[in-house]
Symmetry: C2
Subunit: 673 residues, 2 copies
């Protein structure tokens, strides 16, 4: 199959530079816009974490500056405030982009969460319950199998800078800044191949208005998304009556858990403590979310514009909330925090201790559609990140879900643009079906945790109990770490057929504890530590699934691998003859269980070395290496075939003799010749 691949420099010059991701092959003809006619294959609006991730992924997949444009109204990256939390799955994805190191090393790792509640224990000397709070429990932050068993807090501006620095290795232009989207329409009559029409202007003075056309457009333009409004999509949900202040500062305190994430419920209100990274002065930042007492009536709205007070329908309670939110000062936030921390004291440490602060009203809203079709039903305009869902920062999700939206969509777009797919539009359909469900789940969780968190722990007077709160917190761990995300069935996810298949051993996975590592179509492939055959190197499975847009077929061979006519050898030969029919975007990983004897390359089918020389592993337990079969729920006597999508989510699991199933699945995703 003829393919076109573009490299930016000669291999020799590249040898002193950090490695570059190999671009995807392109089956469509090279995109060469005509001079004077501003056209792109993809336009991205907004360069926060969601937009930057989208831009970076598309350029890594091989889209050139001619092909993709990303604009942003802001003149530069953030310098303070906003989102700060990276969850386990996001860390795994950043690692798959080789962008995790600085974050893991220099960010603030959170391994534990402490719960503080009103004191109930009597002092041994006085016989009285002392006023204030006491620690009621201390638990692990992450209670699922994750490659990095902690979450990390770090300045959003640093994340954006890390993404942008990497982007500039692949894109000469980078982000086009100070450029604002005025509106976007789908206009199929003017130019059916480039039906998306976007009007841009200079963000400073509204000058230099121009119209550009594209095949696809991605709105990553935040909660007040112009793309969403232009497309007539609605945010649905409600804002609650709780107002919170948030402040990033260096603290002087005797509170013992200031370096742990804490949920503090005190009689004087609730505070969430988020430890943050060390700053150049050598001090450590802390973020406090502080409940501002008082009640305003909850309201339901269709659009956050109304909440902003623009809509005529804005009712009294909304206005009250907005007024009260605007009345919040740094001093009032700190005063409420001080009251909640008693008997411990907190105060800003020294001059310039406060880095950033704001006040907000909790709201949870999600857009009804994440994609808009043209008249032919082709997905043309997408919204990602805050443009399609907003929620409270309590669960530390904002930046994570936003980047993961782009991570889900980018490879599907690249496959469409590069014409690699058998049915590009069906793949693009899964963006809405997969991510809309996740957004809804998260918002439901956020609503319950936020409302419980805003309530007092006061079981005696009808409030929630500490146990109730912690229960909700724990249940959500799969969701909040990102490791429990499971996509539904589609052309990209083939769920096990029936219960019967499972009981009849037609399906090779045993067990259902997916959060502990058992494989399940629609969930991400959990990491395992293996030992490589070629060099004895101990290696992480996920490092064989870098984010390069490739599908992976993982062959967990059975204990008959050394038998040339066994089912393992048969499967490997059959897979090898299949790969030739697809574009070169399918990579093979092979794992073997403990075998009857030591062996060398010549003792096993030659296809293993040909297709996976450096991706062939022993998968049984030894020093520093895991029992992969046990972790994944695969019987070593039977083995399994697992197809992993380019974003690391499992598309299909079959028995070793299910190579036809694998082929059919891939034929639904890829061109076949």
């Amino acid at each position: 199959m003829p393919v076109f691949t573009e490299y930016s420099s000669s291999p020799r010059d590249l040898r002193v530079l950090p490695s570059f991701a190999p671009p995807l092959p392109r089956l469509s003809s090279k995109f060469e816009p005509e001079p004077g006619d501003e056209k792109y294959e993809v336009v991205i609006v907004g360069a926060g974490p969601a937009g930057m991730m989208m831009h970076l992924l598309l350029t890594r997949y091989g889209l050139s500056d001619d092909s993709v444009l990303c604009v942003d109204a802001k003149p530069e990256v953030l310098k303070s405030g906003q989102a700060d939390g990276l969850q386990c799955r996001t860390l795994e994805v950043l690692k798959s982009l080789d962008l995790a190191d600085e974050i893991l090393t220099q960010g603030c790792q959170q391994w534990e969460v402490a719960f503080w509640d009103p004191s109930t224990h009597r002092n041994a000397d006085t016989g009285k319950v002392p006023p204030g709070i006491e620690r009621t429990s201390l638990v692990s932050e992450v209670r699922v199998a994750a490659r990095f068993p902690y979450c990390v807090t770090i300045h959003q501006g640093r994340i954006e800078r890390i993404l942008e620095t990497d982007l500039l290795r692949y894109s000469k232009r980078g982000i086009q800044r100070s450029t604002r989207l005025v509106n976007v329409t789908i206009d199929e009559d003017g130019d059916p191949e480039f039906p998306v029409k976007a009007q841009l202007e200079d963000a400073n003075d509204g000058s230099c208005r121009r119209t550009i056309r594209s095949k696809y457009l991605v709105g990553a333009d935040g909660a007040h998304s112009v793309v969403r409004r232009s497309m007539g999509l609605k945010l649905q949900g409600e804002s609650t009556n709780h107002i919170w202040g948030v402040v990033d500062l260096v603290l002087d305190t005797d509170f013992p858990d200031i370096r742990r994430r804490c949920a503090i419920h005190s009689a004087a209100g609730s505070v969430m403590v988020i430890p943050r990274e060390r700053i150049p002065t050598g001090e450590y930042l802390t973020r406090l979310y502080v409940q501002i007492p008082g009640v305003v009536k909850a309201d339901n709205d269709q659009e956050e514009e109304e909440e902003e007070g623009k809509g005529e329908a804005a009712d009294k309670s909304k206005k009250e909330a907005k007024t009260r939110r605007n009345e919040v000062t740094l001093e009032s936030i700190l005063a409420h925090a001080e009251a909640a921390f008693r008997p411990y004291t907190i105060k800003p440490k020294g001059r310039d201790a406060v880095d950033w602060w704001t006040a907000y009203q909790i709201g949870q809203r999600v857009a009804n559609e994440f994609a808009v079709h043209d008249s032919e039903g082709v997905n043309r305009v997408f919204i990602v990140g805050d443009a399609c869902h907003t929620h409270s920062p309590k669960a530390g999700q904002g930046m994570n879900v936003s980047m993961m939206d782009s991570h889900n969509l980018a490879w599907k777009l690249a496959y469409a643009v590069h014409d690699l797919s058998a049915n590009a539009n069906a793949m693009l359909d899964t963006y809405h079906s997969e991510r809309h469900r996740i957004a809804q789940d998260l918002i439901a969780f956020d609503r319950s945790i936020s409302s419980m968190f805003s309530g007092q722990i006061d079981p005696l007077h009808g409030g929630i109990t500490h146990e109730q709160f912690q229960q909700v917190f724990s249940t959500g761990n799969g969701l909040t770490t990102g490791c429990g995300v499971e996509y539904g069935g589609s052309c990209l996810v083939e769920k096990p057929d029936t219960e019967d298949d499972i009981t009849d051993n037609l399906y090779p996975i045993q067990g259902t504890d997916y959060l502990a590592g058992i494989l399940q179509p629609g969930r991400r492939l959990p990491n395992v530590r293996l030992k490589r055959h070629a060099d004895g190197c101990k290696w992480d499975m996920q490092d064989d699934l870098p984010c390069t847009g490739r599908f992976r077929v993982i062959c967990l061979t059975s204990s008959d691998l050394l038998d040339p006519s066994g089912k393992s050898a048969t499967a490997l030969r059959s897979l090898a003859s299949m790969y030739e029919h697809f574009p070169p975007v399918v990579e093979q990983i092979v794992v073997h269980p403990r075998l009857s004897k030591d062996f060398m390359w010549q003792d096993i089918p030659s296809q293993v070395k040909k297709w996976s020389e450096m991706r062939f592993y022993s998968g049984y337990e030894m020093d520093g290496v895991q029992d992969v079969y046990a972790v994944y729920g695969v019987d070593p006597d039977h083995g399994a075939l697992v197809v992993v999508r380019p974003d690391g989510y499992i598309g299909l699991i079959s028995c070793l003799d299910g190579t036809t199933q694998v082929e059919n699945y891939l034929r639904g995703c890829l061109k076949y010749t």
Copy 2:
């Protein structure tokens, strides 16, 4: 104590950038050269790994572009060939500079070494011994406790690029390239404060000759060092009669261990296989060291210039060797390699498979002195890296020992320049005493391994046995990994007094298996994994010893920590009152054994939180965390105090009640007020 600290930008702007190392305080007045008068505090000649490391460390320690200059004759960093191996200790040091990530992730990790020897096993079918080689053993590459239990091969040009990229965060000027040193002299009469006079010129055409003066000068100008010659220092040693070819290439082969480090001894000659990193084409590089058969007489020389044929005294055998070396071609190297690999086949894979090749004669030489004094006995000129020792590449040491020379010297120079030291010149004296010994040990090892490696495994005819070879290889593991380096006693290393002290429990360390982790003054502090009190984070001890020029006092408290009048609390209070008398370059790390009950900050001496809030750990075994006391050889009932030098080597170990010893040691290193 008043200190002067310079920051290059405001803390706020720094928040989106990677963290910067905090500079050392400066007690001497700020260095401000007079205009028109080219003077520096330190001049570095050469910007290979040794010179670049020296420059980077000095700038990180706080020396500005006014204060330090680094010149190099080459116009840019390397693009191919030369050194490629990074040993365990070097990886630890690069990690302490936060520069290891790309190397660990993108380099080639070597976990195992295979030994291949002439076949001796009869074929079961034919009853004959087949011609060629067979694998005789497969062992771990690293057999000592190391944070990274493997070595890494990666292009030297990448190491230099990584160091230079980081350097440019601290130095605006960076390396002054295309600038050659003509000569250097010590001229105390002209300017006693800046007695080192160096003449520089344009490396391209010899134009722009200029003279600069400095307090200190470091020659990192390689095997043909102008600094060494100008100072009249001699390289002593010998070159052997063995000639080797080396080639970096992409191979097409059925040899099963091509991705492992291999020592191949065949009847047709010896080959060493060094797997290398993946290159941008997706292929993997391999380096082969190939013995070129034939014998020339060994010679002893005082200077490598003679070997170069410049000296009149160059004798016939030297000329023969040189002639033969010059006759080696790529084709002959490959032909010899092919013969040694039989029955396996090797050939270059495709066009442009060969990246680089050369031929060399093994030689081991070391300079008699590593430093030159002025008439007052003050160390003024130093040589580091290849300028003071050359050896064969077999042990993979070149780049490592060179960078470690600079790592040993740089902080001592910075202390001298910043006037932080009680006796700067005595500290500078230890550069020669510590590094000269290591160079001699390495050369002795290299000589034995090289000569054995060049010999045939042929015990029947008086050759060495496989067991003899592997024995030498194993014994050297402490040396070659860098983890077994032990410096002798000096003002910076206080060895345990006598055997009596040890048996009388006046010395707190039990055990002598230093390569497994037992502490010993003069050796580097081995890494351990701990759990931090403040946040429950699991953490590596070595990450609390970043390469920032600070001394660390590690207090391994005893099991009486919760007793306010116990020896642990007493030691902590006594240490805290001592720190105030020193410049702020002493940091405290505290570890506690399993205690009788859970505790909070208020249950232990307040000095722990004040001096080591984020460096206070539990040191007993639990999930993913080690028993630090057992690893280090410390009895939890007695505890210990350990002082670690800025380069990570242990300076002093005492009992918990030995705070006076600690103070005396530090008073020998630091200003005291």
